[in-house]
Structure formats: structure tokens, C-alpha cells
Point group: C2
Chain length 400, copies 2
């Protein structure tokens, strides 16, 4: 086990630069932290000696000799990443530079309860380790994303609406039976935001990731770091009101965006259109399957069905109205849209954009870019891996 | 002129601790920055030698010898603070520890134009300096708050709705004719948030200051620092929609909270109630003055007038509805309410609170505290002074 307490602040700063950039030449690394040449060289020598970094990989040359890249050493150990969805579990092993060593995604039902789900998670992890001959003691840190509110310091879920009963289950204690590594738990959308942040090399300082599925959540990167708020509930945008005269939400208030434009609401609107005879195509899909999913609606919309298009535009418009309020308040540079419902098609993104640009102040949208989450398939496990590295290796002593 | 470039990171960290705490004993200062004893002592000696800090003041003893406090040296110079309101100018000179040396507040009309307003500002500053025998060269930094959107890096206003014509006036160039000190400009509500942050000794990490006057604006402290957003427009909450079926706003959208609950909207509602015969008291005030102000409404409300109370409750409810959206997104620990309209009375604050607690998620409001801005009279000039110190003395070389 590496003892991170023995790192100096300078050494930690170098590791952090290498982690976020994916690798730098000696010269670029020293320059990126504003150290004197001798201080940088001493810290680099110390990290090389302790096998925390290694030379390897060659940078594309701009002429002259190609400089060797320094990077985080693969020899120091691995990170385990776990991303629990409402209907899936993803488990991965990653090298310290976030190279995927192995990644398994399986269907799962969180209603089976946390003990069963985590028994499967531990099995999957064990199989992966055996396949790659990695002992449990080589796991440096474990990051876990869950689809519900988390008290970050304790790692416990807090009244999770989609995960009844999980609030009494300690993910930390369960994993501690097999791993000595520290375990960090956060909600899935913060994890997705962190994964996106890392993919973009930490270059965006203030942006949002919106996940639209059964619920609607938002991950916030502010001043270059995940922002969790006072109680860990920051980004809980699903219950922002978009129409005080709108339908009642399960939270007790009227017109919450989640009650009007998340997956279940969209499916309900599609079924209503089918029953009302507004769309032969939706009717046919409903008759065949007994229910309609947001994906069915997306397929109908892509096939040019007018009623489906109207529903997609309406839902996108409501989400855009919620985001307009958030944009006026937060003035982000980017909003990335993800989650299952984001896949209903390009008209959905276009409707969100139109609504945001219409309802936000001109100054707030001058540089605003709204697009899909990049490389969404592995954003969850990458995000959980990034959290594990940040909290284990890069956090100063006051954080641990 | 002090050369801040010669400060080491360690020395800067010590100055920062002394600035935010108001003074610490040697032992507490060294402990607060996690330096070794020898490194702390060396940095303290260096700062004492350069007369940037001084010994003075005695801490309340907890028994034993009373330790002498270290604090920022009054000898190093002064800060100038300027707070421009829509109808007032405040000018102050402050010691580096934010002791007010002199403070003048005068009525002013920003429509007279920036050159005239700043001619008065420079006059007031010069008179103050003469009164206290302080040469222009002793001014270390100048902080300026203005009631409009500011591009922080350039210090220029951007399309300020309340300050037509000011966008072509360089406050920096104007003050540079008399002062060599760097000039920093920000909008009034960021300044008020920063002043509040300093008053609270920097102990709150994530909170909001809402200013309700002719418009509605919000200053954001996030991760312990002012958050300005991508284009400097963060906190522009006045155009968040609280009712899509509401009245048209001058921005072109319907139901903006500013169009429904800021000063002019409140005065309009009061006048309508007077004309409709709903309140004898408001009618009497209207007949006497020809117009009604938010203050008239507040006086009627405090006198128990039912129509006035209904208007105050309605306006507070709309502001609370906007804040509920912001609370769900940002999960702050505190919201401080300030600005002229905040003075309409306790029923206003109570209505805001009720509306926020009703419309926000329980988890987001578990620790939420909503109250008035503390010591609001000097929050503006203190905030401008804090900004001047932060940007001049405490910012690392990459910031200047």
C-alpha cells in the first residue's frame, strides 16, 4: 500500500498535473507548476525513485529530439470503479492514468436491495482481479456512483427515492470486508460530471452535466471542482418549478420539471397520444408492447411522427425553461446532456437549446455551448475512478 | 509602493490568514497554515522586517500570559473603496485590516453620467486624504462597486441597464490619472457578498446575497470565493421566470421575478390598490405624494394595512419561488437579503422564507438560514476594500 501521507505538497502538485494532463515532458511538467528547476527536478527524482511516476510514451515532436513523457506509474496499483444505475451495474478496474484495464456492464435491479447488488459487484470485481492477476491489496482506492443523494463525508445515501432501504446499508463497510483501500461514494451525476471534467483535461472551469432519465439531476463543476453544496444536494434540479399551474409532483409541489419532462412523464404523454388516436405509429407500438418507453417515442419522432415530435419538443422546452433559470444564476460555459432520455433524438437537444437561448439573458448565453455528454458509455466508471484518485492520492492531508 | 511580487507563497498565505481572521497570535498563525515552526517563524520575521505585519492588540486570555496579536500593519498604506448605487455614492478609506479611516455617503444620480459621478468620487477621495494627511502614493489598491454587469478582467461595464452610457467609460483610466494603485471593478452585489463574507470571517463556504431594489441581483460565494461565472453574469437572477403566464418584462420574456416583485412592480401594485379603493392608508399616501414608493408600502404594512400586507406577501412569495429554484440547484448554507426593498418590513422576509421552505426539497433546506445582510450600511465599501486587498496583496503572481 502506498503511503500518501509522505508526499510533500510539491510532489502532490506534480502528480496532480500528470493525472489531469495524461503525461508531460520534464520541462512542461516543471513549467506547469511554477517551481524552480531544482525544486522540480528533486521532486521528480523522488517520485521516480518511489515508482509513483515512470518514463514512457513519447510526445509528438515539434522538431528536434522527441522528449520522453512522464506519467503516473502503472506499477503503483489500480483503482476500482463502480457505477450503479437504476437498471444496471458497471464495474471497472483502471490504471492510475485512467486506462481501462477491464470494464463489465450488466443489467441489474436496484430494488433487489443493496446487499444483493453489492454481492454481485464484489463478485464481478473479484473475477476481474483474477483474470488480470491483481491481488486485493493492489487496489489503491474505490470510487462508487449511486443514483441517489449521498452524504459525501459518510458515504451513506440519504432518503434515496429510487433506492428504498439503501440508506441503512454501508457501502464502505461492505467493501472493507475485502479491501483495505479507502471507498468514496457520490451520486451518479456528480460522478458523470467528474468523468467529463477529466476527459476534457480539466480545462473547463464552470460547467454542468444534466442527466435525464427516471429523474432529472445535475452535476456541477465550479471553480474547476465538483460542487456538492452544503448538504450534498446541490444540482437537485428535478424539482425546480417550470409551471406553477402544472401537474402535481410526488414531492407535493406543482409543476416540477421532473413531473413534466422526465422519462415517466414522456412515456405517459406518448401513451396518451396513442390512446387519443393522434399517432398511428405510437398506437401500433403501444398495442404491440403494452407500454410505451421514451425510446419508443424517440423512434417515432425519428420516423417523422408529428405527435411524437410535438411531445419531444414540449419536454425539451420544459427542460430548457428549467435550465434557463440555472443559466441566469450560474452562467456556465457548457451544459452537457446525458442519461437515457437524452437518446430520444436530435429534436430533443434542439428544443432544449431553443428554450434556453430564448429564456436566458443574452450575456449569460454569449459563450454557452449545449451538447451531449462526450463518450457517455464510460463516463460513469471513469468518473468514479477519477474520484478515487483525487480523494486517495491527490487530496492533501487535511482531506483524509 | 509595496512590491507584492517579492512575497513568497508562504508569506502570502500568512498575510491571507491575518486578513481573514483580523489578527492571530504567532502560535495560532503558524498552526492555521500547517507550516513547520521554523518555516512559519522565518516568514513571520520577514514580514515583520518589511513592516507588512506588526505586533499590537492583545487577545482575550484563557489563562496564563496574554499572547500578543500579529496583524496587518497599518503602516503599509491604505485602500480606497468606492460603492456606486443607483441614487448614491459611498467613498471610504480603509486600513489593510478593513478598519474604516473615513467614510462618506452622498446622494447622487448616476444618470448624470460616469465622468461627473467620478469627478465627485475623486474630489471626495482627495478631501479625505487631505483630512488624514495621506498622499495618493500611499493608496495600495482601489475597489469599485457599480450597479450593473461588469467584465471583471477589463473593469468595464457591459450593457448596464441602469447606467446608460457607462459602458464606454473606463473607471480604471479615470482613477489612474491620480493614483498608481491598481483598480478593480465589480458589480454591487458581488461586492456586498464579499463584504459579508469578510464580516463572517470567511467561515461560510457557500452562500448567497440577494439585493432587491430597482432590480434583483444575487452575489454568490462558492467554495469560499466570489463566483462570477463564464461571462461575469452569474447571479443575474432577476430574469428567472416565476410564472410563464405572468406579465411581460422589458427583457422580452414573461413572468420574470424582477417584473413581478422588484421595487417598481411593488410600487405599481401599491398604486393600483390605492386607486381600487382597497386601502384608505395607501390612498392617503398617494394623494399626499403623487406616487407610492416601496417604503410607503412598507409603512402601510407595518401599520397593519391589509391590502399592503397582501402585496408584501405576494412579492415575497414570488421572490421565494425564484429562490427555491436557486436553492434546489445550489444548496447554499445561508441566503442574506439586502437592498432597499428588503426594508419593507418583517412580513417580507417571512413571506420569502415560507415560500422557499415550501418549494425547495427538504434536504436542501435542512440547514438553510435566510436572514438580512448583517451590518448592511457599510457592506458595500467593506466589500470593495476586501476586493482591493485580495486582488492587490493576496492574489498570486498568475492573477496579476
Amino acid at each position: 500500500m502506498v503511503d500518501w501521507h509522505h508526499l510533500s505538497d510539491g510532489e502532490r502538485a506534480l502528480l496532480e498535473r500528470l493525472f489531469w494532463t495524461g503525461g508531460l515532458s520534464r520541462g512542461d511538467l516543471a513549467a506547469s507548476v511554477d517551481f524552480s528547476k531544482s525544486k522540480a527536478n528533486m521532486a521528480i527524482a523522488s517520485l521516480l525513485g518511489r515508482e509513483l511516476i515512470e518514463e514512457g510514451g513519447v510526445q509528438p515532436s515539434t522538431g528536434g529530439r522527441r522528449p520522453e513523457l512522464l506519467r503516473l506509474s502503472h506499477g503503483m496499483g489500480v483503482l476500482a470503479a463502480i457505477d450503479i444505475g437504476a437498471t444496471s451495474i458497471d464495474v471497472a478496474l483502471l490504471a492510475p492514468d485512467m486506462t481501462l484495464i477491464d470494464h463489465r456492464s450488466e443489467a441489474a435491479d436496484v430494488h433487489a436491495g443493496a446487499p444483493l447488488v453489492f454481492a454481485r459487484v464484489r463478485n464481478l470485481l473479484r473475477q476481474m482481479r483474477e483474470r488480470h492477476d491483481i491481488a486485493a491489496g493492489r487496489v489503491l482506492g474505490i470510487g462508487v456512483g449511486v443514483p441517489g443523494p449521498v452524504a459525501f463525508d459518510s458515504g451513506m445515501l440519504v432518503n434515496p427515492p429510487l433506492l428504498p432501504g439503501w440508506e441503512t446499508f454501508s457501502i464502505r463497510d461492505c467493501l472493507a470486508e475485502e479491501y483495505a483501500a479507502p471507498v468514496f461514494v457520490d451520486n451518479d451525476v456528480n460522478i458523470m460530471a467528474l468523468g467529463t471534467h477529466w476527459r476534457l483535461r480539466g480545462q473547463l472551469r464552470n460547467f454542468l452535466v444534466i442527466k435525464i432519465g427516471t429523474g432529472i439531476g445535475c452535476g456541477i463543476i465550479c471553480h474547476g471542482a465538483v460542487y456538492r453544496g452544503t448538504d450534498g444536494s446541490a444540482g437537485d434540479v428535478g424539482h425546480i418549478c417550470v409551471d406553477p399551474h402544472g401537474p402535481l409532483c410526488h414531492c407535493g409541489n406543482a409543476g416540477c420539471v421532473e413531473a413534466m419532462a422526465a422519462g415517466p412523464a414522456i412515456a405517459r404523454m406518448a401513451e396518451a397520444a396513442a390512446h387519443a388516436g393522434e399517432s398511428a405509429l405510437l398506437k401500433e407500438l403501444l398495442d404491440r408492447n403494452g407500454v410505451l418507453s421514451p425510446m419508443d417515442l424517440g423512434n417515432a419522432s425519428r420516423a417523422g411522427d408529428a405527435a411524437a415530435n410535438a411531445i419531444v419538443q414540449q419536454a425539451g422546452g420544459w427542460i430548457g425553461r428549467m435550465l434557463a433559470a440555472v443559466v441566469n444564476f450560474f452562467n456556465p460555459s457548457h451544459i452537457f446532456i446525458g442519461g437515457g432520455v437524452a437518446k430520444v433524438g436530435p429534436l430533443f437537444l434542439a428544443s432544449i437549446r431553443q428554450s434556453v437561448y430564448q429564456r436566458s439573458l443574452a450575456l449569460s448565453t454569449r459563450h454557452l455551448d449545449i451538447q451531449y455528454v462526450p463518450q457517455v458509455e464510460s463516463a460513469g466508471v471513469i468518473g468514479a475512478g477519477v474520484m478515487a484518485v483525487q480523494e486517495t492520492m491527490l487530496a492533501g492531508p487535511e482531506r483524509r
